[in-house]
Every structure is written in structure tokens, then in C-alpha cells.
């Protein structure tokens, strides 16, 4: 591994406290656990790798290669989730010819666990999205799109929880404002609600009522808008909420070389990651759990 590593928050104490914790437990069957989160965003129908003559991304990307990579990671750690942050559709003739069928079928073959909905996923209208649902073996989450008066009603949940090796993971979805971005004839009666308010509700629900060990926001609201700094975005979302461990972003095609670490409303670390677009990269976040009580003074160490 030759990438540059540094420890964001020095917590040498964490390991010691953790070890000390074992002896204090009434039983010592707890073992260290690892949850791997893999993610893509804005793949935009890029099924084949870019050609050798492409100016920017020659020979990069490709679903069949991603499949090999995902499978090898799953083999190494079966407690893995594969997520997509939206804009699955639009960008190559595959979408024009098959309307998203191939994208959904391939994502199903790669065993995607969950996706959220991006603005371009409405490009064949909400009916066009609905028509492709039978090809998706994975589910969709969006907490701030209200689909009640549309054909998508009941087909998109606000959140979904998973249990992997006894660790409970809650994932909720967020979508970008559609007005001004997508033709109303396309999204029809889909109602957009404020992402931050919804995220505050969702994180409380997942952390407190659902008792999730990990809370992940699958967001298509965009990383940050330099020219419109007041627009809601993942950075603002991270700062305005609590109890979210990871925000997986999309929409702005932001190629983050490594996840961003932001402080939430109570001063805890939140990770934000986005892997650009077109399936050029796979994002990978590993969460390690160790026996022992968490400490108030030290959060988890973050190595990015």
C-alpha cells in the first residue's frame, strides 16, 4: 500500500482502552468486527471502459472490472455493502437504447445492496424509472423525495437497515432539488423536502429508535457549490447534523482523492466521500469495531 497515510485523530489510547475493556466484560465472546462499505456514484451508463483514445480517461472504468474488484473484496470480507449514490442513468447510448435496463441488470449481478435516486434517473420520466424497476434486485432509498402521488409510491423507502456480523447499519437516501434541474413533466408530482431537516429526523430515528451501530447517508445533493456557497450540500449537511458516520455523495462529480473529515453539530467526526463519476473509481470505507465501551473523549481513529 503506497498511498499516503496519516492518522487524523491520534487515538493511541483507544486501543489501550479497548483492550482494557475486555477484562471488564461479564462475558468475553465479543470479537473485533469489520464492516466494509463500497460505493459508486454518477456512473451515468458507463458500462464499457473508456476507449484507448479517450483524452482524459483512457482504458479506465468498466463494469466487468468493477465486478472482479467487488467480488475480491467481498471474498476478503463478506460483511460488505455495495451502495450507489444515484445518476445511474444517462451518458452512453446504452441508456438511449435500453432505457436503463442493462444498468439495473448489471448492478443486480454485482449484488448492489442499495441505491438512491439522482436527477438523471428521471431522464426518461418517472414512468421510465418505474418501468425499469423489475430489472433491479436491489432497493432504492430516498428520505426527502415524497413519491406519494407518483407511480414510484411504495417503491422507494426512506431508509433501509442491514445486519452484518451482528452490526446494524442504517442507510437513508437524499435527493437533489428537482425544480430548475429536471423538467416537471419528468418528475411529475415528486415532492422535494429539505435535506437537512430530513437528515436530522433520519439520523435520530436510525440511531435512537433503530439502534443502528452505523448510520450512512446516501446523498445525491452534491458535495459543495463553490459559486453558490449557500446551497445545501454534503459539507453543510455534515455540519448541521449528528449521528451520521458516513455521507456517500454524488451529483457534483467530485473526485475526492480521499474522504473528507468534517465535524458535525456536536463536534464529532463525519466522513464524506464521493468518487467522481463514470465508474472510474470504487470508494471503500472500512469500519472496525472492537470489544469494550466507547470512550467519550476519543472517537474512532480515522486513517485516510
Amino acid at each position: 500500500m503506497n498511498r499516503r497515510q496519516f492518522i487524523q485523530q491520534s487515538t493511541a489510547a483507544t486501543a489501550l482502552l479497548g483492550m482494557g475493556g475486555i477484562g471488564l466484560q461479564s462475558f468475553n465472546t465479543s470479537k473485533a468486527k469489520k464492516i466494509t462499505i463500497l460505493h459508486t456514484n454518477d456512473v451515468h451508463s458507463h458500462i464499457d471502459p473508456f476507449g484507448p483514445d479517450h483524452k482524459r480517461n483512457p482504458n479506465k472504468g468498466g463494469v466487468a472490472r468493477r465486478a472482479t474488484l467487488v467480488e475480491s473484496i467481498r471474498k476478503e470480507n463478506p460483511n460488505t455493502l455495495l451502495l450507489d449514490a444515484g445518476d445511474i442513468f444517462q451518458g452512453t447510448p446504452y441508456f438511449n437504447y435500453y432505457g436503463g435496463e442493462l444498468e439495473f441488470k448489471l448492478m443486480s449481478m454485482l449484488n448492489y445492496d442499495l441505491a438512491t435516486i439522482g436527477n438523471h434517473d428521471f431522464d426518461n420520466g418517472i414512468d421510465g424509472l418505474y418501468a425499469q424497476l423489475p430489472h433491479a434486485k436491489f432497493e432504492f432509498v430516498s428520505a426527502n423525495y415524497d413519491f406519494t402521488n407518483t407511480v414510484m409510491d411504495t417503491h422507494v423507502k426512506p431508509y433501509k437497515t442491514f445486519i452484518k456480523d451482528g452490526i446494524k447499519i442504517g442507510v437513508f437516501g437524499l435527493g437533489v432539488q428537482l425544480d430548475g434541474l429536471v423538467d416537471k413533466n419528468m418528475y411529475k408530482e415528486t415532492v422535494y423536502n429539505d435535506p437537512i431537516e430530513i437528515a436530522q429526523d433520519m439520523s435520530r430515528l436510525l440511531k435512537e429508535e433503530q439502534a443502528c451501530d452505523l448510520v450512512i447517508c446516501l446523498s445525491h445533493i452534491g458535495y459543495y457549490y463553490r459559486n453558490v456557497p449557500d446551497r445545501v450540500c454534503d459539507l453543510a449537511l455534515a455540519k448541521a447534523t449528528k449521528d451520521i458516520d458516513l455521507i456517500i455523495g454524488g451529483h457534483t462529480h467530485t473526485f475526492l482523492p480521499k474522504p473528507t473529515i468534517e465535524k458535525n453539530s456536536v463536534g464529532e467526526n463525519v466522513l464524506i466521500n464521493q468518487v467522481g463519476a463514470y465508474g472510474l473509481y470504487l470508494g471503500k470505507i472500512d469500519f472496525y469495531f472492537e470489544p469494550g465501551k466507547p470512550t467519550k473523549t476519543h472517537g474512532a481513529s480515522i486513517i485516510v
Binding site: G18, P49, V63, A64, Y98, P259, N273, P294
Partner: protein, 253 residues
């Protein structure tokens, strides 16, 4: 409640209480580049293959012929490729618009930036239409007053780019880039008359700062993608013969 249920309940409590003794200790993040160093999964590859072959077969089907190579940089104020696109939008959209509304398109305006590729000499394929117009923009018709059409002329004279306009327009600028003549179908533009201008939804929504489409008397969505206009146009022509002409010119003396 059977013994089995109690056991299950006990098991659940046991599991959760164990989890309570776990804590998040470390997070590692990285991104992994997907490149040729990663072998393709053969099952996935085989699954994609028939789709790819079908798409390529269709994209590579020959639908017309280009006797020359046409580029949007071939002329300063109008180009053969731009004239072809604007006239194609008129020829393909007007019958639909006329059938739906009983009205006729007076003028087409597209944008220079909306021509995304050259048309190369030789066979024109469906792929050509995807190259020239990779975006999903579609034709809209806007009813605006002559006053706004004059604003459009002013915009064109100031922007000084070969935005595609249809054959109906005759716009002449003097050497100071002032409008000296502006007619539609041979008649001067009348401030009070309503004109039906076909454009794309991108420009209608304010793209390229073309803000003369609002307010408008009426607005029609034809559900007709510009790319499909081009495909239909190419299919009707055995050989395209686009020409640079005098529809938009600047006189230097």
C-alpha cells in the same frame, strides 16, 4: 410463548448486549482506481456482449452520405453544419407542430455550443447524430412578440457566434456589428406580431443567456429530441448538401 421463542428472545438479547460491548475503533477510507490492471469478470462481460453488439450495429448503420466535412468553425456568422441543423429542426418539427396547433414555425434558433462534433466526409451513421448531439435536449416552440425577436437579433449581433438559424432569417450587420437588415421570410420583423420560434429546451430555460424567450404568449413541448430530428433528417436524405449562405452575414464596407 414456547421454549423456542424464549430461546430466540434470549439469543436476541445476547446478541445485542454483546454489540453494546463493541465500539467503533477505527475507520479506513480509500478509493480504488478501476483500470486495465483489473481483469474483467467474464460472466459480466458475456452478459454485456449482445447488448453492445446490438447497440454498435445500430449506431454503425449508414443512414446518409456527407460529400464533405462540415465543422462549426467553417464560418464566422453561419456555417453549413449549423444551417443544416436549424433547417432540419424546421423540416422535421414543423409538420408535427402544424398538425397539433394549425400554426407554422416562423424561425429556428439553436446554439453554437450545441454542435458537439463535426460531420466527416463519407457515410453518415446513427452514431454521427449521437456525436453531433450527445445531449438529450428537445425541440420546443415559443410564441414571442416581434419586440423579443428584435432582442434576439441584438443578441446575435453582440454575441458574434454562428448560432444556427433557419433559412427564414436574413440578418445583416454593418462593419460596426449593428443590425442593418432583419427579415423573417422576406418581411421586416414587426414589434407587435407574434412569431413562433423553435429552439431547444436548454435555450428556452435561459441557456447561453438567451433571455428573450420570456415572457411568452404560449409554449409548446414537441417531445422530439434534437438527436432524433437529425436521425430522421439524415434518413430522408440520400446525401446531405448543407451550404453556408447569406442568412446571417456581416458586411465589411
Amino acid at each position: 410463548m414456547t421454549i423456542k421463542h424464549i430461546f430466540k428472545l434470549y439469543f436476541l438479547v445476547f446478541v445485542f448486549s454483546c454489540n453494546n460491548d463493541l465500539h467503533l475503533s477505527k475507520i479506513e477510507g480509500e478509493r480504488i482506481e478501476i483500470d486495465a490492471a483489473i481483469a474483467s469478470d467474464s460472466d459480466i462481460e458475456n452478459f454485456i456482449k449482445p447488448y453492445r453488439e446490438n447497440v454498435n450495429k445500430n449506431l454503425d448503420s449508414v443512414i446518409s452520405y456527407a460529400p464533405d466535412t462540415y465543422s462549426k468553425s467553417d464560418g464566422e456568422f453561419n456555417t453549413a453544419i449549423g444551417n443544416l441543423m436549424a433547417d432540419a429542426v424546421f423540416e422535421e418539427s414543423n409538420p408535427i407542430f402544424n398538425k397539433r396547433t394549425g400554426k407554422t414555425i416562423d424561425l429556428v434558433l439553436l446554439n453554437y455550443g450545441g454542435i458537439r462534433s463535426i460531420i466527416s466526409q463519407g457515410n453518415i451513421k446513427i452514431r454521427t447524430a449521437f456525436e453531433v448531439m450527445p445531449f438529450e435536449n428537445s425541440v420546443v416552440v415559443v410564441a414571442i412578440k416581434g419586440q423579443q425577436v428584435l432582442q434576439m437579433m441584438d443578441y446575435l449581433s453582440k454575441d458574434k457566434r454562428a448560432h444556427p438559424v433557419s433559412k427564414h432569417l436574413q440578418l445583416s450587420l454593418n462593419k460596426n456589428s449593428e443590425v442593418t437588415k432583419a427579415t423573417i421570410s422576406g418581411k421586416p420583423i414587426d414589434k407587435g406580431t407574434t412569431y413562433y420560434v423553435a429552439t431547444n429546451d436548454y435555450l428556452y430555460n435561459g441557456g447561453d443567456r438567451m433571455d428573450f424567450f420570456h415572457p411568452n404568449d404560449s409554449f409548446y413541448v414537441l417531445d422530439y429530441k434534437i438527436r432524433n430530428v437529425l436521425i430522421d433528417y439524415f434518413k430522408r436524405k440520400d446525401t446531405i448538401r448543407p451550404k453556408r449562405d447569406n442568412r446571417y452575414i456581416k458586411l465589411e464596407d
